[in-house]
Symmetry: C2
Subunit: 84 residues, 2 copies
């Protein structure tokens, strides 16, 4: 069994209004950051998984994301794995 | 002026207790994901910045993170830039 470190980026699906991102964008504009636009805010999760292979580790993390970490109806997630 | 897309990962500093990460880790364990550990939860922000160069774009995003997007006392942040 090897240990893998997973980095998971979770973002709202494109069709869903990102209210938090819009609010931060407005705040940035009033702080003189008019050169910043298209702000999207999501979650970033890091975790360690123990598995026999990288494929098995990916499958476990994917399953954990679908069952608990992300909301598959509203969010998209992207997993990056590295052997620890 | 060119446009750059920034991906910003924000995490609690190592010394600060990650209560949300610990809670998700406990929930994963009770869902039969005992092979997952060291869960840390942070934020992930994407934004577009208009600047004359990549260095100038980085400086603007770094400034925006310090002033509004991250909390430099409690959080570390990491910026990745790509020309859009």
């Amino acid at each position: 069994m090897a240990q893998y470190r997973a980095a998971i980026r979770i973002q709202l699906r494109k069709q869903i209004l990102d209210v938090q991102g819009k609010t931060v964008e407005n705040a940035l504009h009033s702080l003189n950051f008019q050169d910043i636009s298209h702000v999207h805010i999501g979650k970033y999760v890091e975790l360690t998984v123990e598995a026999a292979s990288k494929d098995a580790a990916f499958a476990r993390v994917d399953d954990a994301c679908k069952k608990l970490i992300a909301n598959p109806v509203m969010e998209d997630f992207h997993i990056e794995l590295q052997e620890a």
